[in-house]
Every structure is written in structure tokens, then in C-alpha cells.
């Protein structure tokens, strides 16, 4: 199933985070529980894990960019799944 992964809130005071380093590139397969992105905040560095098996179809935030919590970071879906619905949701 196609899913949008958003910038998680990690800890009580986090308002935004930096997509510090993508460990997977677009088109690469990911497994549930596998780290896909390193996130840094004022306080800490944390790892974002995929919560499902699939393909990292689209990266929406480039490395080094700081975005508020809940900003869409990427889309994970099956290899040939239509992700236009997800992209439209993000546009809104």
C-alpha cells in the first residue's frame, strides 16, 4: 500500500527536524524496521525506520533541509503502484 512518511515528532519539544542523510535512494527496496533516513534536531540525531516493506518511490525533502514535524518526507509503495493519489494529497 502506498504511504506517505512524515517528519516524526521525536520528544516533547521538537518542532522541526533536518533530513540529514538519506540512507536509501529513490527506487531502492526497503524493509519494515530498516533505517531510511537520519534526522537531526537541536537536541539529537535519530533514525527514521520504514514501517512497511516496499520501494522508496519518492523523496520529497532533500538532504540538509529543515522541515516542520508532520511534513511529508517520502513515499513508500509497491514497485508498480500508482502513487499519484499520494502526490495529490501532498499538493493539497
Amino acid at each position: 500500500m502506498a504511504n506517505i512518511i512524515t517528519m516524526p515528532k521525536l520528544g516533547l519539544t521538537m518542532k522541526d527536524g533536518v533530513a540529514a542523510k538519506w540512507l536509501k535512494s529513490e527506487g531502492e527496496a526497503v524493509k519494515a524496521g530498516e533505517t531510511i533516513l537520519e534526522i537531526t534536531t537541536d537536541k539529537l540525531t535519530n533514525e527514521l525506520e520504514a514501517d512497511q516493506d516496499g520501494i522508496l518511490r519518492k523523496i520529497l525533502v532533500p538532504e540538509g533541509e529543515k522541515v516542520p514535524c508532520q511534513t511529508p518526507l517520502c513515499i513508500i509503495a509497491d514497485a508498480d503502484e500508482d502513487i499519484s493519489g499520494c502526490l495529490a494529497d501532498i499538493e493539497e
Binding site: P8, K9, M14, L44, Q70
Partner: protein, 328 residues
């Protein structure tokens, strides 16, 4: 060997805790949870196994990692979830969050945001049970780290001197926040310290719910029979960070892997399979049933209102008119 129905009910409680906590983890990442949460994923067996030996009139005092204890003592997960979301329909009308959930009608004296804050409340409740001769007991849950607090030693001491009906249950998950136990404690077991207070104690494996249930059963009977307090220490492990979002860089991947392999739910599922207690289909039906209860709880929390600003300080301060002060 426990009867099948007992294993099944312990499994159901553990699964409810696991699925509740897993959902809270997701809701926290989505920004829906209003305060800090410390999840007990990996420690379900101690909560479920101990509380299965208690009556409704018995009391528990809990910790900052309290959802498992509270669910096992019979709390309503809708009201719990609403509290985590900061909503008026929650246990503390949305003003307490994860670490203040309490329900005295079923003996839950409260989770506690203060490490070591539950000991003297538990001892006080045990004194009340003793004076009222109610036959009820108190289970005081605590972690390894808090046994270094002065309040723990005070409560251990007075409970033993007064032979209070209290069972101290240590969930030793090997870390007090990021400090490994051997960096903050010179003895091997928390239970070793009970000797200093003339209190009976035992150490057991905390990731097998049948072991927890059996050892707790014996301990609860000992305390309920008027022998005074006892301490049981369970060795266990939390699978998430100290709080949600914590990077957890102080534990080695090997150690984490080793304990993931001893997951209490997997351990119980292996037993269920071996003894043919539930079929695969019955197990997935049970999971679906719990999932739908949790979906309902999240929906209830989402749809509930935040408390109105006018009530911001209601229930927060007291007029101090409790017994003993009224006439002065």
C-alpha cells in the same frame, strides 16, 4: 503448568498492552500525543502476570512507564487514549497525560512522573488496608533505577517494620534512563537489598509470563496471609528508547537483538503453539478484536474535545480541606 484458559487470558492482556503501546508510538510520531510517553513494549509479561493475581479491591502504584500496569489492572483504554491526547474525556480530563493516569475505583493509585514517587503512596495505601483489615494488598511497581532513591529505602524499611501488606515488584530492565544498572548499584540484584530490611525477596525471569504469574501468585499469597511485605524482582528489557523519540545509543545492537529474541509475547506464542492452546486462526481473530478496540479508542480520543480554557486550573490545585485540617 498453568491451565490453558489462564495462559490464554495472560496472552490476551499482553497483546492488548503491546498493540496499545505500538499505536501510541505511531500517534506520538504523528504529534497527536500531548506529553511525554515512556512505552513498556518488551515488559508486558511483568504487568500482566502480576496483576492477574489481584482482586479489584487491591491497589497498585505505578511508574512513568505505567500503561501496562494500568491496562492489566482493568483500566479503560478509551479513557486512557483520550488522556494521552489531552482530551477532556480522559482519566484526568486531559490535564495529566501518560504519567498521571489513575482510577481509584479499581485500585489504580496512579502512574507517577516522579521516579520513586510511588513508594510512600503505596506504603500509605498498605497501611490503610492493614488498619481497615480489608484483606486487600498493594502492589508497588518500580524500576531498578528508583531503588537508588531514598524514598525506596524508607518505604522498604517502614513496610517491613509495620508488616504492611505490600508486594514490591521491581521491573529491572537493566537501565535507569541511559545508565546501566552496574553503574549505579553495587549489588547484583535489587532483591539483594531486601535483606537489609528483613524482607523476603526473590529474583525471577520477567519475559516468561507463566514464570511471572506463578512467582507473583506465591508472593501475593504470602503478603495476603499477613506475613508482611515481600519483594519480587523480574529481569526484563524495554524494546523502545527510554522515552518515545530517544535515539537509544547507549545499548549495543547485540544486546538489543538478544532481548528481542526473548520477546515475552513471542515466548508466550511459542507455548500457545506447543500446547495447542489457540489455533492460528483463533490467534488472528483475537488480534483483530483487540485492534478494533484500539481503533475505537483512537477514534474516541480524536473526536473528544480539549478541556475548555476556563477549566485550566480546575483539579490542579486543592483547597487543602482534607481530614485532620478541617477544624483548624
Amino acid at each position: 503448568m498453568l491451565e490453558k484458559e489462564k495462559v490464554q487470558s495472560l496472552y490476551e492482556t499482553m497483546l492488548k498492552i503491546r498493540l496499545f503501546e505500538a499505536r501510541v508510538s505511531k500517534c506520538f510520531a504523528k504529534g497527536q500525543v500531548q506529553g511525554f510517553v515512556h512505552l513498556c513494549i518488551g515488559q508486558e509479561a511483568t504487568a500482566a502476570g502480576v496483576c492477574a493475581n489481584l482482586n479489584q479491591g487491591d491497589y497498585i502504584s505505578s511508574t512513568h512507564r505505567g500503561h501496562g500496569h494500568i491496562i492489566s489492572k482493568g483500566a479503560d483504554i478509551k479513557t486512557m487514549m483520550a488522556e494521552l491526547f489531552g482530551k477532556e474525556s480522559g482519566y484526568c480530563h486531559g490535564k495529566g497525560g501518560s504519567m498521571h493516569i489513575s482510577d481509584t475505583s479499581i485500585g489504580i493509585l496512579g502512574a507517577n512522573g516522579i521516579v520513586g514517587g510511588g513508594f510512600n503512596l503505596a506504603a500509605g495505601a498498605a497501611l490503610a488496608c492493614q488498619m481497615k483489615k480489608s484483606g486487600n494488598i498493594v502492589v508497588c511497581f518500580f524500576g531498578d533505577g528508583s531503588s537508588n532513591e531514598g524514598s525506596w529505602h524508607e518505604a522498604m524499611n517502614i513496610s517491613s517494620v509495620w508488616k504492611l501488606p505490600i508486594l514490591f515488584v521491581c521491573e529491572n530492565n537493566l537501565y535507569g534512563i541511559s545508565s546501566r544498572v552496574d553503574r549505579s548499584m553495587a549489588v547484583k540484584n535489587v532483591a539483594d537489598r531486601a535483606v537489609a530490611y528483613g524482607m523476603k525477596s526473590t529474583v525471577a525471569y520477567g519475559n516468561d509470563v507463566t514464570v511471572v504469574y506463578e512467582t507473583a501468585k506465591e508472593a501475593v499469597e504470602y503478603v495476603r496471609s499477613g506475613n508482611g511485605p515481600m519483594l519480587v524482582e523480574y529481569k526484563t528489557y524495554r524494546q523502545h528508547g527510554h522515552f518515545e523519540g530517544e535515539p537509544d545509543v547507549y545499548r549495543s545492537p547485540e544486546e538489543i537483538r538478544e532481548w528481542l529474541d526473548q520477546d515475552p509475547i513471542k515466548n508466550c506464542e511459542a507455548l500457545i503453539k506447543e500446547k495447542d492452546i489457540l489455533t492460528g486462526e483463533e490467534r488472528s481473530m483475537l488480534q483483530e478484536k483487540i485492534e478494533s478496540e484500539i481503533n475505537e479508542a483512537v477514534r474516541f480520543a480524536e473526536e473528544s474535545q480539549f478541556p475548555p480554557a476556563a477549566l485550566a486550573v480546575k483539579d490542579v490545585y486543592t483547597d487543602i480541606v482534607e481530614e485532620g485540617r478541617v477544624d483548624r
